[in-house]
């Protein structure tokens, strides 16, 4: 494993140490998992537990931080350090933790309510600052824990306990919001696509800076099947646009359909039967304009991009920049000396 690919929390020397011997089982805590039968959260938990040993970060150097919601119960089930916070505030807790302990591998687990409703501000500021943490946002487009009110990602028209005549609020476009906030890593995956999820989570773990992963998740109790287009085997091929950096935007059976840009930069679906592959737009993880284009795609009747929508390397990590000033100050002024500090203003002697 090369240094550039070491996640936070791994040993400095690039060796794996004891962490190499860890297995998925080591990351299962002794707490009963208390989600509803069939909840998409189980599948996500399984993949995260599977990823952990691969990262070779010692259990004690890994911390899961969350807010409140079904999704936010996640830390209890990980046999690592964990902090089940208050509603919406996981990014704030994680920021303090990471500033104090930059060497830890910090994971934030949140929901569409926790992260985008009450916690929206903390989330966008986290993304702006580019703290080196990983954010997993379980998007079931509903408030699960409070038994089924609509959320800021619920689609218009959805009938819920708090929207008997249908939701009137336009939903957030999650990737668009993250992009607008300045995120350096934006990805999307689906609870039931375990292999895809693992790959996306791996890239998120290795990204230096805030990795934002929206995990499309089914809540069978309060919003069952809302992501059916992406999960129903019969139709998902036509609705999933699997992204690869530098590759053309292709989808559909046999990847015979593609996304082409019109002159006004709006996207259209074309068939490879009719147009040359050279006309198909190429994915560019570093282009904000491309990310913007992709972010709006799924809701326009075009396929939903899955994978890494944006990844920009080399942007300074917040906690490093903050701590660099400590180093800078020490270089300029020497290590803090209280006796000198106390005497740094005007002084006078009595007696």
């Amino acid at each position: 494993m090369s240094l550039a690919e070491t996640p936070s929390g791994a040993r400095d020397d690039g060796e794996l140490g004891d962490a190499a011997k860890l297995t998925r089982k080591d990351f299962e805590s002794d707490q009963d998992v208390r989600w509803c039968p069939g909840c998409g959260d189980y599948a996500i938990l399984a993949q995260v537990q599977k990823l952990m040993p691969e990262l070779a970060v010692a259990r004690e150097n890994t911390v899961f931080v969350s807010g409140i919601g079904c999704s936010s119960r996640f830390p209890y089930y990980m046999n690592t350090y964990g902090f089940h916070g208050i509603h919406g505030r996981a990014p704030a807790l994680a920021t303090g933790l990471k500033l104090a302990r930059p060497e830890l591998s910090v994971w934030i687990v949140t929901g569409d309510g926790d992260g985008l409703s009450i916690g929206g501000n903390h989330l966008i500021h986290l993304l702006r600052r580019n703290l080196d943490v990983n954010v997993l946002l379980f998007n079931n487009e509903i408030y699960g824990l409070t038994k089924g009110q609509y959320s800021p990602t619920s689609r218009q028209g959805l009938v819920t306990k708090s929207s008997p005549l249908g939701v009137v609020d336009p939903p957030f476009d999650v990737a668009s919001l993250a992009l607008g906030a300045g995120a350096t890593f934006i990805a999307r995956t689906v609870d039931v696509e375990s292999r895809h999820m693992l790959e996306v989570l791996r890239r998120a773990a290795l990204h230096k800076g805030t990795s934002f992963v929206e995990i499309v998740q089914n809540c069978p109790v309060f919003n069952d099947g809302v992501h059916e287009e992406l999960t129903d085997r019969a139709i998902k091929n036509d609705h999933q646009l699997l992204l690869e950096h530098g590759k053309p935007l292709l989808f559909g059976e046999g990847l015979r359909k593609g996304i082409r840009l019109r002159a006004d930069l709006s996207p259209e679906v074309v068939s490879l039967d009719e147009v040359d592959i050279g006309q198909i737009a190429l994915h560019d993880e570093t282009s904000p304009v491309m990310t913007q284009l992709l972010a709006r795609l799924g809701r326009q009747g075009l396929p939903m991009p899955l994978g890494v929508l944006r990844c920009v390397a080399g942007v300074p990590r917040y906690e490093q920049a903050v701590r660099a000033q400590v180093v800078e100050a020490r270089a300029a002024k020497g290590a803090g000396d209280f006796d000198a500090l106390f005497r740094s203003g005007e002084t006078w002697t009595v007696g």
């Binding site: 805590s29 707490q31 259990r59 004690e60 150097n61 890994t62 911390v63 899961f64 409140i68 830390p75 209890y76 990980m78 690592t80 350090y81 964990g82 902090f83 089940h84 916070g85 208050i86 505030r89 990014p91 704030a92 807790l93 994680a94 920021t95 303090g96 933790l97 990471k98 500033l99 104090a100 302990r101 060497e103 830890l104 501000n121 903390h122 500021h125 903050v322 701590r323 000033q325 400590v326 800078e328 100050a329 020490r330 300029a332 002024k333 020497g334 290590a335 803090g336 209280f338 006796d339 500090l341 106390f342 005497r343 203003g345 005007e346 002084t347 006078w348 002697t349 009595v350 007696g351």
Partner: protein, 625 residues
């Protein structure tokens, strides 16, 4: 003029104990500099001092208007100084607005020094004067010295190639030189300061120094002042001193407390008046390993502090009333997760946005009771600017020892006020190192220390101690989620006991003034000086009155009830409608008479003296009936 004793024999010298002087002018007139330099000169002359700046609420109100007046008050004395002084005996007013805004406070017969050149028609109008007040007789109660300061200033600089504006901006040093002469202060230190401050513009060093001397010489040579004053050195504990504001002291105390505990200080904060200077101060000392985080709001600020504490640092956050209100929910999380945390609340006038630049003590009940559920936190209050240092250290140390949030209450008056501080040696300061759990065997996140009831602090990175905490009720030992009824009651009670246990290590309650007798005045926070002075005056009048000043408001000291019951009457004086008095009633079932003031201003010792005298007299009459 290097020696203050150069005064010609033609001037009378009068020895006085105590002087309260206020410098007032437009925000742009440099009154804060004048005041603080004069304070330093006085401290160097061996006087005891206390100072209080008074900024306008607007950032920069239009020049010459009442809204733009800025002031600085200094109390210096050959005796012990407890407050920045009730009412000034000397007022220096650099323009009509400054005069109008302040002259009402000047004691009758006091000295009033004016820059006569600033009393132009337009300036008079801006201040709402139809005519020059010196001519209308309305200043007859005071000894008025009207001096053409602006002209004398520019004259002193006439041979320099400076723009007129720059010249005029030196006139605050004229006032300073004059006052230095008047009270026989050496200006040497001020000259050094000018040299350092303006070192990039030698012309300004020259100009300001010249004007300073011009002011001094004006006093020395003109016939205007027949008398000079001498304020002899006070008997102050020998040592090295510096002047420190409350906010600066708080910042340093937090740093020192953390250092003594061997902990990294992580300060999460969102700017708010009058707490912002704590952030400014801390972020200037990164070489101490202090990490400051300017968060997107108060909730993120405290959230980050809690996260840092979970990580094994000491998380600290500070704000003022509206910000404390926003932090309420998160404080509950710290109570539930039993993590150390210090929340500084620099109180200001409320409710809501209230009087942001004014002082008040009306957040006490919010600090003690303002959270959902049974949610006990420790509350400590600082009593003077320098005490902010000790109280902050104690807050950090207590938070760590008991694994609990501690709220430190200060206020706008302490925050901005300054006091001489006898510089301690860091090595001599008390403070214990924090201890972290490292032993995996037998570890349970909520197993408690039998004395302090604190749970172990097990930080991420420690192998074998992986555990999970959160805001849901937890099992007594394991800390796992528990909804069991009896467990909840047990946990609610043990959290309350833990905070109550802090009282075990508090010193016996101290009474100043009479040890028992007619009445005791109970105070907390920034009213210390005014109450102490009032009680001293009343004791001097022969009244048997004591003063108890509370440092810990939660828990209250164990012996408090016993001590208070030694007095026939308990009086509680506070800058609110009566909050501590409620705590005494509900926790000690001691009834008390409340003395309250909610004007955005501190008590004056004179006010308190009078009111306490009246209350005790009334009580005596009632008892006789």
């Amino acid at each position: 003029m290097s020696q203050p004793s150069s005064s010609p024999p033609s001037k009378r010298l009068e020895v006085v104990d105590t002087v309260v002087i206020r410098f007032a002018g437009d925000s742009g007139d440099g009154m804060q500099v004048t005041g603080s330099k004069f304070s330093t000169e006085s401290a160097l002359a061996g006087n005891d001092i206390a100072t209080l700046p008074d900024y306008p609420a607007e950032i920069r109100a239009p020049a010459g208007t009442l809204a733009g007046v800025s002031g600085f008050q200094l109390h210096f004395s050959s005796k012990k100084v407890l407050t920045p002084g009730d009412a000034p005996g000397v007022l220096v007013a650099m323009n009509p607005a400054a005069l109008r805004a302040n002259v009402g406070d000047l004691v009758a017969g006091g000295i009033l020094i004016l820059d006569g050149d600033a009393f132009s028609k337009s300036n008079l109008a801006k201040a709402g004067y139809a005519d020059h007040p010196a001519k209308t007789g309305e200043l007859a109660r005071w000894r008025v010295f009207e001096i053409p300061m602006t002209r004398l200033t520019t004259k002193a600089l006439s041979d320099m190639d400076l723009p007129q504006r720059s010249m005029v901006r030196c006139r605050n040093f004229f006032a300073l030189g004059l006052c230095s002469w008047l009270y026989q202060r050496s200006t040497e230190e001020t000259q050094r300061w000018i040299a350092a401050r303006f070192k990039k513009t030698p012309a300004l060093v020259e100009a300001n120094t010249r004007v300073l001397k011009a002011g001094w010489n004006f006093g020395d040579t003109t016939e205007l002042f027949g008398t000079r004053y001498e304020v002899r050195p006070a008997s102050i504990a020998p040592g090295l001193y510096t002047s420190i504001t409350g906010n600066q002291a708080t910042a340093w105390g937090l740093m020192a407390g953390a250092a003594k505990a061997g902990l990294q200080l992580v300060y999460g904060s969102y700017p708010i008046t009058p707490a912002s200077e704590i952030l400014h101060e801390l972020c200037a000392h990164k070489q101490f390993g202090v990490v400051t985080f300017q968060a997107e709001d108060e909730i993120a600020a405290i959230g980050a502090a809690i996260g840092a504490s979970f990580g094994g640092a000491i998380g600290v956050t500070a704000s003022s009333g509206p910000g404390l209100a926003l932090k309420t929910e998160a404080i509950g999380l710290a109570v539930m997760t039993e993590l150390p945390l210090v929340v500084v609340n620099v109180q200001r006038g409320g409710p809501s946005t209230g009087l942001p630049t004014k002082t008040e003590q009306a957040d006490l009940l919010q600090a003690v009771y303002g959270r959902n559920g049974e949610c006990p936190v420790a509350v400590i209050a600082a009593s003077t600017p320098t005490d902010c240092f000790d109280a902050a250290m104690e807050a950090v140390q207590t938070a760590v020892k008991y694994m609990t949030p501690v709220i430190l209450l200060t206020d706008g008056y302490l925050a901005n006020g300054a006091q001489p501080w006898k510089i301690p040696n860091f090595a001599d300061l008390a403070g214990e190192p924090a201890s972290f759990r490292t032993q995996a065997e037998g570890f349970q996140p909520y197993l408690r220390d039998p004395d302090t009831l604190a749970r172990p602090w097990a930080k991420p990175g420690t192998p074998g101690l992986e555990h999970r905490i959160g805001g849901i009720e937890k099992d007594y030992d394991s800390g796992n989620i528990s909804y069991a009824p009896a467990n909840h009651e047990r946990m609610v009670r043990v959290r309350a006991q833990k905070v109550a246990r802090i009282a075990d290590s508090l010193a016996a309650t101290e009474v100043t003034g009479s040890e028992l007798g007619e009445a005791v005045v109970v105070g907390w926070g920034s009213t210390f000086g005014a109450i102490e002075e009032a009680v001293e005056r009343l004791n001097a009048e022969g009244l048997a009155i004591g003063h108890v000043h509370l440092r810990w408001l939660s828990p209250l000291p164990k012996d408090l009830g016993k001590v208070l019951r030694r007095f026939r009457t308990v009086i509680v004086a506070e800058l609110n409608l009566g909050q501590l008095v409620r705590l005494l009633r509900d926790q000690l079932t001691i009834d008390a008479t409340a003395i309250n003031k909610v004007e955005g201003l501190p008590f004056t010792a004179a006010q308190l003296t009078e009111t306490i005298r009246a209350v005790t007299a009334q009580r005596r009459r009632e008892e006789r009936r």
